[in-house]
């Protein structure tokens, strides 16, 4: 029995992890061999990060057991994990910018006692860096380094602490293709030397190109585990996306009318200065919902922000109702009747401590009858708010309750109410049902359909493919800032969509069945 077990460096058996309202991991098994690069594949919400957070000590599992080299272990904190040789490189780096590489690497340790023997430590680090071709200068300051280099510092930190099992969370999300290539080579070499690498990703080409084995997760459960040489992109995409659909909506047929939102060759840059959108074009017509599918982090947020004038546009145009709104101030967007349901309601959509009524009037407070000159008529505010609360069935003790106290679903309904009321037929919705329970989700989707039936043009950007399949009329797939393909909902082929979401262009698909 123990003979069979010891060939695995890591065994996670029956891991279940629950959070309020959601089961992030349900009875998941993961076996990783020494010297392997093992990919963890799945969509948003599949549970990949959660599982790895359990392994790296950030969370504790509710059920299940972890074994390292056959021995059961109890990991209570990141410290425990590191002591056991497990280290994780997160998407958001944990580096102190004003310090050097060396200083960051030795934080929390006392490698040479109280006084730092910089020379010796730098030599050690340089040796490690050379061994794995990380090419990091120990005396450089973090703020001087590129993102790729910073990521390698994070790896260095783990290696210095003797990590044998490294977990990378979507590492190429922040890298250029060249840096990504470099990273994969480094990981490969580490695997050759006997380290075990677990690699979270949603990109099929990475899995097929670099991993030895892949485990596919979907909605918290393990779907299958395969050797990559025995599978194909098609098969993986199919496992990743699945074929279940939650509810059925009766969608009325509609003839789409005039073009309302027009996007031409849009080029946008993200917060780090890298291109997020590389020339995207599409149209949304009256009375239709255009869904944009894709795994999070492929330019969706930047797309939503660029169209609603919250992010500068570097190239291309956006027209709403024929008016060019490229790079206009946010107020213009409001004036042209373009509404936006933001991806994080508490971040941008709501002022949590202000009452429901204050939040509801955010877009209309400048107009009569609510405003007369510089004054605000709060009686009008109240009646406006009450009307919206009734129409959209927002459950709140009163319109003066701070919006923070509402449930997630009702907060979202608040945002929806405000935006729909203020829009004149053009709506951009970004992850509108994220974090909502089943009932609220259904209500929101129903509302969007209702608006569409009344002639609104809705751009629905969502990481939830089921949502798009239910209510969209057409679906576009976005990957790394480019449109991979487009199809009408009647012709929607889930396998094809899955492949597109993972990097295959539509043109390359149709005929061949295997890759």
């Amino acid at each position: 029995m123990s003979e069979a077990k010891t060939k695995y460096a890591v065994e996670m058996r029956g891991i279940t992890k629950r959070f309020p309202g959601v089961i992030a991991n349900q009875d998941v098994d993961l076996f990783v061999r020494e010297g392997h690069v093992h990919a963890l594949l799945g969509e948003n919400g599949a549970g990949k990060s959660t599982l790895m957070n359990v392994l790296s000590g950030l969370y504790q599992q509710d059920e299940g057991q972890i074994y390292l080299h056959g021995k059961p272990v109890n990991i209570q904190s990141p410290r425990d994990a590191i002591d056991l040789g497990i280290g994780m490189v997160h998407q958001h780096f944990m580096l102190v910018e004003s310090l050097t590489v060396t200083e960051n690497v030795i934080l929390g340790l006392y490698p040479t006692g109280l006084v730092i023997n910089m020379k010796q430590i730098e030599d050690d680090i340089r040796e490690l860096s050379n061994r794995y071709q990380l090419n990091v200068d120990p005396s450089a300051y973090i703020w001087q380094l590129s993102v790729g280099e910073q990521q390698r510092v994070e790896i260095l930190k783990l290696l210095y602490r003797g990590a044998e099992i490294l977990i990378m969370d979507e590492p190429t999300a922040v890298l250029t293709p060249q840096e990504a290539d470099k990273l994969m080579n480094i990981l490969h070499q580490m695997a050759q030397e006997g380290k075990s690498i677990i690699y979270i990703t949603h990109k099929l080409h990475e899995v097929m190109g670099y991993a030895d084995r892949v485990t596919v997760l979907r909605k918290g459960k393990r779907v299958e585990t395969l050797d990559t040489e025995n599978t194909s992109k098609d098969e993986l995409a199919c496992s990743m996306v699945g074929k279940e659909v939650l509810f059925q909506f009766d969608k009325a047929d509609r003839e789409p009318g005039e073009v309302v939102i027009q996007v031409e060759d849009l080029k946008v840059v993200n917060d780090k200065g890298l291109p997020a959108l590389k020339g995207v074009s599409f149209e949304v017509r009256q009375g239709e919902i255009l869904g944009v599918a894709g795994v999070a982090g492929n330019g969706q947020r930047e797309l939503a922000e660029a169209i609603t004038c919250l992010r500068p546009i570097k190239g291309g145009r956006v027209l709403v109702n024929g008016r060019d709104v490229t790079n206009c101030p946010p107020r213009d967007a409001i004036n042209t009747g373009l509404s936006h349901i933001p991806g994080d309601r508490l971040g941008r959509g709501l002022a949590a401590n202000l009452p429901v009524s204050d939040n509801l009037v955010m877009k209309v407070y400048r107009r009569p009858p609510i405003a007369t000159g510089p004054l605000v008529d709060y009686k009008e505010v109240n009646s406006f708010s009450s009307r919206l609360v009734d129409n959209f069935d927002i459950i709140t003790p009163s319109i003066k309750t701070p919006s923070r106290s509402l449930s997630g679903g009702n907060q979202q309904k608040l945002v929806l109410a405000r935006e729909i009321d203020a829009s004149s037929g053009a709506l951009v919705a970004f992850n509108p049902t994220r974090g909502l329970d089943v009932g609220a989700t259904e209500a929101v989707r129903r509302e969007l359909l209702e608006q569409r039936d009344q002639g609104a043009a809705i751009l629905l950007i969502s990481g939830d493919l089921d949502e798009l399949l239910q209510i969209a009329d057409r679906i576009l797939v976005i990957y790394e800032g480019e449109m991979m393909g487009e199809m009408a909902i009647e012709e929607a082929d889930i396998d094809q969509i899955g492949l597109m979401m993972a990097g295959e262009r539509q043109d390359n698909l149709s005929n061949s069945s295997n890759e």
Partner: protein, 318 residues
């Protein structure tokens, strides 16, 4: 200017800068851990009053100094407790400390003299100046630097020690990390809250000593507003020095020197009115601030603690 004039100028400058530097160093360490302590003025006043009162009644200058340091630690511990544990607003807490310290020291000053009378005008054991035999022979620097009181000499040793601690030791490294990116430090196992407590209290100790220096060495007596705003100057100095101990020393000499010099300059009949000279340091500090913020890379290089002023709440971080 003759050599004697230079020496006497330098001597006064150093004398004036000692208490300022103690306070500034204390605030530097506090702020490096991410805590803004605006109560420096209040702590210094309490340090001055306590040192003098204890010295007077116990006839021991050292005891006075020790108690002043303790009082500084206690007061800053209150600030740490309120801001780190109770997550209260750092600005308001610091101002409350100033109010409290100003009031209590004034109260003590009027009531801790013999038989419950005022301390003004009393004589107490002090730290006198003395010169160090060989070192005082060094041309110019000798008679000025090495003809000071014991607290100044301790400072000469303390300064490089603190610099070494900050930049060359592991705990100093952790301190720098905590102030700049507490989340990263936390994930790596460094105790953020404990560090903040520790360094705030340590800072308070130095501030108490700074106050003691005023009443026991520099001015040798008690008067109600004995600090004359030095606590606030120290806060400005921290920025001017970009949170670095040696630059703080330069700044303290500058500020202290200008302050002490104003009378000399007036006597020498210069055109620039004294208050304008006094204004220069504050003006320069604003310039430094603009410089640091504007040039992001400057800020990173000069090490302004990025997390200064924000309470660290682990729960909110996710």
């Amino acid at each position: 200017m003759t050599e004697t004039m230079i020496i006497s100028l330098l001597t006064i400058t150093v004398r004036a800068g000692v208490s300022l530097l103690y306070a500034t160093l204390g605030e530097i360490f506090t702020e490096r851990s991410g805590v803004l302590n605006l109560g420096v003025e209040g702590i210094m006043l309490m340090g001055a009053a306590t040192a003098f009162a204890v010295a007077y009644h116990s006839n021991s200058a050292w005891l006075g100094l020790a108690v002043a340091g303790l009082v500084g630690m206690l007061l800053s511990a209150i600030h740490a407790f309120l801001t780190v544990t109770m997550q209260a607003d750092q600005v308001v807490s610091g101002l409350a400390l100033t109010l409290f310290g100003t009031g209590l020291s004034s109260f003590m000053g009027q009531r801790l003299g013999p038989g419950g009378t005022t301390m003004v005008g009393l004589q107490a054991p002090t730290f006198q100046r003395f010169s160090i035999p060989l070192l005082e022979k060094i041309p110019i620097l000798g008679p000025s630097l090495f003809n000071q009181d014991i607290l100044a000499y301790i400072l000469y040793l303390l300064l490089p020690a603190l610099w070494f601690f900050l930049y060359k030791t592991q705990p100093g490294l952790h301190l720098r990390a905590v102030g700049d990116n507490p989340t990263a430090a936390d994930v790596l196992g460094i105790q953020v809250k404990r560090s903040r407590y520790l360094y705030t209290v340590f800072g308070g100790f130095l501030m108490g000593v700074a106050g003691a220096h005023l009443s026991m060495a520099y001015l040798q007596g008690w008067a109600m507003n004995i600090t004359g705003g030095r606590g606030w100057i120290a806060i400005a100095l921290v920025i001017f020095a970009t949170w670095d101990p040696f630059r703080a020393a330069v700044g303290a000499l500058l500020f202290g020197g200008i302050n002490a010099l104003q009378f000399r300059l007036q006597a020498a009949g210069t055109e620039i009115p004294a208050p304008f000279l006094n204004m220069m340091p504050y003006f320069f500090t604003i310039l430094v601030l603009v410089f640091i913020t504007w040039g992001e890379s400057f800020r990173k290089r000069l090490g302004a603690p990025a997390a200064l002023g924000n309470p660290y709440i682990r729960e909110d971080k996710k």
